[in-house]
């Protein structure tokens, strides 16, 4: 059995002239809450799509839970895609029933409990929801799965700051007892910083730094300071 949830070597992926991944190496340990952080366009979403078999690397190798990613490995992954929406005609309850039918490991009782916690009415229809409510629903659809790996691409976008803190606390409580690896890409580092145990910092399709967050903090201070020091060069380049 491998100790890595995700392991990649020399990953390259281009879309025409745009290089999404440029020789990314990564090794993400199991059973940790991992922050995949970096500025827009640094390759986070491409990496997540690669983990779920949606895109193939141009070169390099990637293993998820010890296997090459594809539709078969998605049985063990709960994936919240980037900029995703949910089926507009579904009610919350129908969405849960849908997930129970098609997502292995989905626990409808847990989903109902989470919906109550996140203040989502089960009879509400998606097309009548605010973006924040829809984002919560999609988050529940992933969190309520008992699978070894959860991959959340910008899960808090659209959720207001006050609700966000409340939701993050709930998630920490909920997953606290479980043996799951959770990968989260987000720009909302202020609220979520306390949740991470491990961090992968990316820029221009490469890994800048990866390791335990305590180690990172010991070296560079808070994540906000880390961002300022690691991406200083990018900021200067963009600003000039």
């Amino acid at each position: 059995m491998t100790d890595w949830a995700v392991k990649g070597e020399a990953l390259f992926k281009s879309y025409g002239d745009n290089k999404a991944l440029s020789g990314l190496d990564l090794a993400i340990p199991k059973n940790k809450i991992v922050g995949i952080l970096g500025p827009n366009g640094c390759g986070k979403s491409t990496l997540f799509r690669m983990m779920t078999g949606l895109v193939k690397p141009d070169s390099g190798t990637i293993e998820v839970l010890g296997k090459t990613p594809g539709w078969r490995t998605n049985r063990e992954i709960a994936y919240l895609p980037d900029r995703a929406r949910w089926y507009p005609n579904h009610s919350v309850r129908q969405a849960f029933q849908w997930a129970e039918s098609f997502f292995p490991g989905f626990e409808i009782e847990s989903a109902v409990k989470l919906a109550r916690y996140m203040d989502i009415d089960l009879h509400l229809t998606v097309k009548g929801m605010s973006r924040g409510q829809e984002a919560r629903l999609m988050l529940i659809l992933c969190i309520a799965r008992r699978v070894p790996l959860i991959v959340l691409d910008e899960p808090f976008s659209g959720i207001d700051v006050i609700s966000r803190e409340h939701i993050i606390d709930g998630i920490i409580d909920f997953i606290g007892e479980r043996e799951q690896t959770i990968l989260i890409s987000t720009h909302e580092i202020h609220e979520i910083e306390g949740m991470f145990e491990y961090v992968l910092l990316m820029d221009k399709g490469k890994a800048l730094w990866s390791g335990d967050i305590e180690e990172l903090r010991a070296q560079h201070g808070s994540l906000h300071t880390v961002f300022r020091s690691f991406y200083k060069r990018s900021v200067i380049t963009n600003g000039s």
């Binding site: 799509r49 779920t52 895109v55 490995t73 998605n74 895609p81 929406r85 005609n89 097309k127």
Partner: protein, 258 residues
């Protein structure tokens, strides 16, 4: 793969009618229903006026349904496109089932929708035929029989060809999201050209048994008025449909461009 999951997926595809992008600029369900009823009533009214004219033949009305193959094509096209319109493509594509499996479920779901539409069109024709017999003294019960028989033959032909037409529609929609996107304009020309050629060509190739002669009432209506090779072609079409679904599954597996 569990057949139970497959049929649940087919059920989902069959029932899923919402399109977020279109609903932004379109009317609510009630207004849609009101518009459709208005158009049907208007159609009844206009056709009733028509029927008074000299030489009116009930069978001519089937000319109005010549656009149905194109409508079927766009049901196939739309069933894939709505995933992107609704921004649900990430959920759909990351389902833990093979891409041929999920594409096949989509085809079957839209096939059931198509058959429902075709049955609906035929039932509407039955109602209209009965209405015309009641209001127009020039029409006899034999005219109604010929009208419904012609309609049956035409709708049945569409039913057996609809899997292939849907698969072609799906292929045009899916290619856009793969590395073969640049081929899309060529495919549009080929598919639309092939559709037009079918209408134009079939009428010319077979001068005795074609739907133009059938719809004008020049040939007697029967249950199966078309040459038998047409039905053979439909069976070959099912084989092609299967191959297209497998090919589309492979495209999504290896050539997806997100």
């Amino acid at each position: 793969m569990a057949p139970n999951v497959f049929w649940k997926l087919v059920h989902h595809e069959f029932h899923w009618s919402g399109n977020r992008r279109k609903s932004k600029r379109k009317l609510s369900g009630k207004w849609w229903a009101a518009h459709i009823i208005f158009v049907i009533l208007l159609g009844f009214f206009i056709l009733t006026m028509f029927s008074g004219s000299k030489g009116f033949n009930l069978q001519n009305l089937w000319f109005f349904s010549l656009g149905l193959p194109f409508a079927i094509f766009f049901i196939g096209y739309g069933t894939v496109k709505k995933e992107w319109d609704n921004e649900t493509q990430g959920w759909w594509l990351s389902l833990p089932y093979s891409r041929s499996f999920i594409t096949g479920a989509k085809l079957l779901g839209s096939l059931l929708q198509t058959w429902l539409v075709l049955v609906g069109v035929y039932l509407l024709a039955v109602v209209y035929g009965l209405y015309m017999i009641a209001v127009d003294s020039h029409l006899a019960i034999t005219d109604l029989g010929a009208f419904l028989l012609t309609g049956f033959a035409w709708i049945f032909t569409l039913v057996i060809f609809s899997p292939l037409i849907l698969a072609l529609g799906m292929s045009l929609s899916l290619v856009v999201y793969t590395e073969y996107r640049p081929v899309t304009p060529i495919l549009w020309v080929v598919y639309m050209g092939a559709g037009s050629f079918f209408y134009w060509g079939y009428g010319n190739v077979n001068k005795m048994q074609n739907f133009y002669r059938l719809f004008t009432g020049e040939v007697a209506a029967t249950w199966f008025p078309f040459p038998f090779y047409i039905y053979g072609l439909a069976v070959i079409g099912w084989v092609f449909t299967y191959l297209i679904v497998r090919y589309l599954g492979g495209l999504l597996e290896k050539k997806l461009a997100l």
